[in-house]
């Protein structure tokens, strides 16, 4: 098998070289202007909340971090979530009292995660233009499975984490070694007659809490 694989590798590379002949690109071209020079977004928080709302996700804007816990509690109550999984390093004040919080430490089995009503996390970045949350497994986010299996995802975004556009976000994420998940609204499908339906797999409900100040 190992020999066959290396033979295939050599042959595919040889075919590419034969196909290109002397038409090879000498070097990668400079960054495409259009992608790099995406226009700035004037009021990222307003744009972000509007765009998240367009996906029929819930959005709550609070003035500072002290109000986050109450907003998270309200979001969980809206969806009648009795318990929530939380990353081990989620800021303490974000988990409301009166809800059974399960720390994912040690890691919970997938089957258990699938029974939990909700998950509460932070995020790495957000994109105003597209209403996108970006999870990179960093502080307050946990591993990918915890934001995938519960039915409700409550995600807390700091205003300073919101960038304007997709290229800005990609630039900020350069060099990240961890897996990334870009979340734009709840799970959806258009597979039946191109009619959009929210909530197939993954969290059927997305609630975003934006905190203007840390």
């Amino acid at each position: 098998m190992a020999f066959a694989m290396s033979a295939a590798r050599a042959e595919v590379l040889r075919r590419i070289r034969d196909a290109l002949g002397d038409e090879r690109a000498p070097a990668p071209p400079p960054a495409p202007a259009a992608a790099a020079a995406a226009p700035r977004v004037a009021d990222p928080v307003a744009r972000f909340t509007q765009r998240v709302g367009d996906y029929r996700a819930g959005v709550t804007v609070v003035e500072d971090a002290s109000e986050v816990g109450a907003a998270v509690a309200a979001a969980l109550t809206r969806h009648a979530a009795a318990d929530a999984v939380v990353p081990a390093d989620l800021p303490a004040g974000w988990v409301p009292t009166g809800i059974a919080a399960l720390a994912d430490d040690p890691p919970l089995p997938h089957a258990r995660l699938a029974q939990v009503g909700a998950v509460v996390t932070a995020c790495a970045l957000a994109i105003a233009e597209t209403g996108t949350l970006i999870l990179d497994g960093g502080v307050g986010q946990g591993r990918r499975a915890i934001t995938l299996l519960p039915d409700v995802h409550v995600c807390v975004v700091g205003a300073d984490q919101i960038v304007g556009t997709v290229p800005e976000a990609i630039a900020r994420l350069a060099g990240t070694p961890r897996p990334l998940t870009l979340v734009s609204g709840p799970s959806a499908t258009s597979d039946i007659g191109f009619v959009r339906v929210e909530g197939v797999h993954g969290p059927r409900r997305l609630e975003v809490v934006v905190s203007r100040r840390a």
Binding site: A35, A114, S184, V200
Partner: protein
């Protein structure tokens, strides 16, 4: 009639299919137009997308080697496959090595192209499609007919009946939300149980080794996150040189594809990450005809394709004939050029002619593939290398001779008038002429050649 023309009959004769397609493509066209109109410099973005893909293709060997080195450095394994059989053998061996006899799959055109499910089934491994449309196709033992929405030819009523028959459900409505709910219940248990996931890739970044899967339903996250082992089968043309290239591609793809600002879920991973997701990752790099396409200097732009399917949704031929008429993994305008280029002209010789060259596909293509020009180029290759019908060749040569001199041309004009006269009534030719004009006159009238050509009028002034 052969090839596309005869395969199109089934679709043309199915009014339900035509209604489904018309309704679906009308909906998605409007969404795409709105999503594109929001972008200030869409044209510049398209140009960037084309440049990125061209940069990748024109140094494809170097980018693939770089991708491989970065995936391996991050704990993944890379396998190379010259063709479908080799790719299927690699995936089968990898699944067997885990001891598993089932896999969950993200929708992937590459695995569709190589017939992976059948190959796995032959090896006693069950492959479960998890994308809703792919599930519908799989349950119905059907063929996909659209790149993005493989079950676009199925109505809600069809899908309800299929779910009731195959999944033991009863009393379902035709509400898409309820039908999607059935898929959720049906697949959730499999996501939690199955230990091997199989995916394709939308992009792979040579510079970092990151693999990118773009999806909507969350089934992609399930398949790429929950299993112990993840196997990604990727056409070699999916590589992009740099991380920042994603900044353009992740704008172009969702807006062109589902007409959204961003698709619900985009997953990116590099090799394996301790404590998060699959702890074994295999990347299978698939040629399967792509290097043949690369060797065609005009046709190679087809390899820029990011499988958004915008060209299908605007194509008047696709809308009427349906995806199955193309008898290929890739349907629609892009399929009409990609299929002969990567899968050979023997099977797909009539596809380059299955277009009016109306240009709607080129107009929407996010990576500016000039599909009409490639179609014309491939028509030439069919005629030169693969044998056009002798009658066509003879007719084309004869006409070229006639048009080559004024004298012959004017003689032919007069001959046409003389020949048309006995067949003319009220300024038009009799219906249903024989010979090469039969297909035209079966459906449309032809004007009788007028008593005076333009040039005769000009001279008579």
């Amino acid at each position: 009639m052969s090839g596309f023309a005869s395969a199109a009959r089934a679709g043309l004769d199915d009014p339900q299919l035509r209604r489904n397609l018309r309704q679906a493509t009308t909906t998605i066209r409007a969404k795409r137009d709105a999503a594109v109109a929001e972008v200030d410099d869409w044209e510049g973005l398209r140009t960037a997308g084309a440049a990125i893909k061209d940069a990748a293709l024109l140094a494809l060997d170097a980018h693939l080697e770089r991708l491989e080195a970065n995936v391996v450095a991050a704990g993944g394994q890379v396998h190379w496959a010259r063709d479908a059989g080799e790719a299927n053998a690699i995936v089968t061996a990898l699944v067997r090595a885990t001891g598993a006899d089932e896999v969950v799959k993200v929708k992937s055109m590459a695995t569709e192209e190589i017939g992976l499910n059948a190959a796995l089934a032959a090896a006693g491994i069950a492959a479960y499609e998890t994308d809703l449309a792919e599930l519908i196709v799989q349950l119905g033992d059907d063929r996909p007919s659209h790149i993005l929405v493989p079950a676009i030819h199925r109505s809600r009523e069809d899908i309800r009946a299929l779910f009731e028959r195959e999944l033991g459900e009863t009393g379902l409505s035709t509400d898409p939300a309820e039908l999607a709910g059935v898929a959720r219940r049906h697949l959730r248990e499999r996501f939690l149980r199955v230990r091997v996931g199989v995916s394709g890739a939308n992009f792979a970044v040579a510079e970092t080794g990151a693999i990118c899967v773009v999806e909507s339903e969350g089934n992609g996250r399930m398949c790429t996150t929950l299993p112990d082992t993840l196997i990604t089968v990727m056409g070699i043309e999916k590589v992009v040189p740099r991380w920042e290239d994603l900044g353009a591609m992740l704008q172009l793809l969702p807006r062109s594809s589902t007409g959204e600002r961003m698709n619900p879920y985009t997953s990116l991973w590099t090799g394996v990450t301790p404590g998060d997701g699959p702890q074994a990752f295999h990347l299978v790099l698939l040629d399967n005809g792509r290097t043949t396409a690369l060797a065609d200097a005009i046709g190679r732009q087809a390899l820029r394709c990011i499988r958004c399917s915008a060209c299908l949704n605007v194509c008047p031929v696709y809308e009427r004939a349906g995806g199955h008429a193309y008898d290929a993994t890739y349907a629609g305008p892009i399929g009409a050029i990609l299929s002969p280029l990567i899968d050979g002209f023997e099977r797909h010789a009539t596809l380059p002619s299955a277009s009016t060259l109306c240009g709607a596909c080129y107009e929407v293509c996010p990576v500016k593939i000039d599909i009409p020009s490639v179609l014309i180029h491939l028509r030439g290759r069919v005629a030169r290398e693969h044998g056009a019908p002798p009658s066509e060749r003879a007719a084309m040569r004869a006409m070229a001779r006639v048009l080559g001199t004024r004298r012959k041309y004017e003689l032919a004009q007069r001959a046409l008038r003389t020949a048309g006269r006995p067949l003319s009534r009220d300024g038009r030719l009799e219906r249903r002429l024989p010979g090469p004009l039969k297909p035209w006159t079966t459906f449309r009238d032809l004007p009788a050649p007028p008593e005076q050509t333009f040039r005769e009028w000009w001279r008579s002034r």
